[in-house]
Amino acid sequence: MTKDTLYNYTLHLADNALILAQRNSEWCGHGPVLEQDIAITNISLDLIGQARSLYQYAAEVFNKKEGREATEDSLAYLRDVREFKNCLLVEQPNGDWAQTILRQFFFSTYQYGLYQQLQQSTDATLAAIAEKSLKEVTYHVRWSSEWVIRLGDGTAESHDRLENALDELWMFTGELFTPAGYELDALKAGFGVELTALKAAWEQKVNEIFAEATLPDAASRAGVWMQTGGKEGVHSEQLGFILAELQYMQRAYPGAEW
């Protein structure tokens, strides 16, 4: 079972990175300020880089096991919606700048804790990818934190928009810390991460930044029901449309090299 677990676990990490990169890249050429257009594109690029490393590794694991020819591109471009294992948060629409920022802040703060732990993974490849990515993620956390503060403590409008983004996104944060089957198995097998243990640090960071942003703390949303399902392939209706664009060329021209 370990091979399957490793494959699924790695795909999950890769899908998170790819789908968020795809979402963020929708801003490229349409950002509110040129400098920020560049910044959000940078984050996209970092995430695509992570996704590529992870897909390559997943393909390696798969090919060893099945003797078939998976590649980073076959994994990204030739699985349908039920096979994608990303969490619901990353597939949510960009909305306005506040929503994009808050999504990034939530995700990067989670990814920071995750990769910190994953550095100690018994799987050397995952540990190496985590270590390499951590520097990028540290920057993503800082950049998005600064924007959360700026919008929260900026104008009345920016504050309202951030609160609205919170209403949209908070319900997708619980899934980050709710392990899917393969995450539990990965933990047992020794290469995964104890997700529930990451939650406290995540909330602390969120509260710290929210305080500066003059937003109510996480406890004020304790009653919100948390949506789950994405990690097990039960997504929102958004993902199908993301994939229709993402995968069009590979689907339309099967077997072609680009």
Partner: protein, 319 residues
């Protein structure tokens, strides 16, 4: 000093290939020409993000997606350098952008054509960036310092982009029949608009003469265009593709390629605003700007708040 004396100093510097710097005296017309040209160049980078950006979500492999994204990002960076160069001449970025959105300022007409297939991304890299580079290489030696220095940075990245574009087409040219068709079709659609990028014939070009005297420009439109044709006519052979010009032919006597006449009616029509995507491009830029207004405002209000708080803190510490 009298204006005549100042002008003499200015022209001497030009003569001696000494760069003009922001604090130097310069003729109003020189300044105006530069502002027009640099801001037009900046806008071309920014508007140029749109046709290529159109394929980011659909790039056919992860590697190509990353390369394309990085390329479009570079263009944003080029825009930044150039807006900064304009600012050294006393025109703010905001004013420059307002002029773009009102239609007063222009940008390169090539970006008013649509990107219909993935091969267009290759063709833009190869042909459009290829044409741009020739112009930009020349501008690395332009007489205004900040502009010349921005160009040096841009040129490095741009030639990288051209190679990437060629590489996309190379992959297609070695691919399936559909991919080869896609490649040839993109070349067919982008070839003539690329030639138009160098602007009207020297005989028709109104701004050129003065710009050459001031060493803003150092080669004529037709000279640059010829250089481009000579370069591409060779490279296209490597792709096993053709250029859509029955009159294209090596001329032993001139040691250049002869080529057919450009459809200048189309050129002027697109400049006037009637290209396939003029409205779409400006609408997209305006939309991004307008929808970003609250973000820019929030950032500046927050910065002011923060500054005030820090000043207060300092005051306390002093007191």
């Amino acid at each position: 000093m009298s204006v005549q004396e100042l002008e003499k100093i200015f022209l001497d510097k030009i003569e001696q290939e000494i760069k003009i710097e922001p604090k130097d005296w310069m003729p109003d017309a020189y300044r105006k020409t530069l502002v027009r040209q640099i801001s037009q160049h900046a806008h071309s980078e920014i508007v140029g993000m749109l046709p290529e950006g159109n394929w980011i979500s659909r790039a056919p492999s992860l590697k190509r997606k990353a390369i394309l994204l990085a390329k479009v990002q570079d263009e944003a960076g080029h825009g930044l350098y150039l807006y900064s160069a304009t600012e050294t001449l006393g025109t703010t970025r905001e004013q420059t952008i307002v002029d773009l959105h009102s239609g007063k300022a222009k940008y390169s007409s090539i970006f008013n054509y649509p990107t219909l297939t993935w091969a267009d991304i290759g063709a833009i890299g190869w042909l459009v960036d290829g044409a741009a580079i020739l112009n930009q290489v020349m501008l690395c030696r332009t007489s205004y310092g900040p502009y010349a220095r921005a160009m040096v940075r841009i040129c490095k990245e741009e030639s990288f982009h051209q190679r990437q574009g060629f590489d996309i087409l190379m992959a297609l040219s070695k691919g399936t029949p559909e991919q080869r068709d896609m490649c040839q079709d993109a070349i067919n659609r982008w070839w003539w608009p690329s030639l138009m990028m160098f602007g009207p014939h020297d005989s028709e070009s109104t701004n050129s003469e003065q710009s050459t005297k001031w060493k803003i420009k150092r080669m004529s439109n037709d000279e640059l265009r010829q250089k481009f044709v000579d370069m591409i006519a060779e490279q296209v052979k490597v792709l096993n593709m053709t250029l859509p010009d029955p009159n294209l032919k090596w001329n032993e006597q001139t040691s250049h390629y002869d080529f057919g006449e450009i459809n200048w009616a189309e050129f002027w029509n697109v400049v006037k605003g009637n290209g396939p995507c003029n409205k779409q491009r400006l609408d997209a830029r305006r939309k991004a700007w307008d929808e970003g207004a609250w973000v820019r405002e929030a950032a500046s209000v927050y910065a002011a708040k923060r500054k005030a708080r820090e000043e207060k803190k300092e005051e306390k510490q002093i007191a």
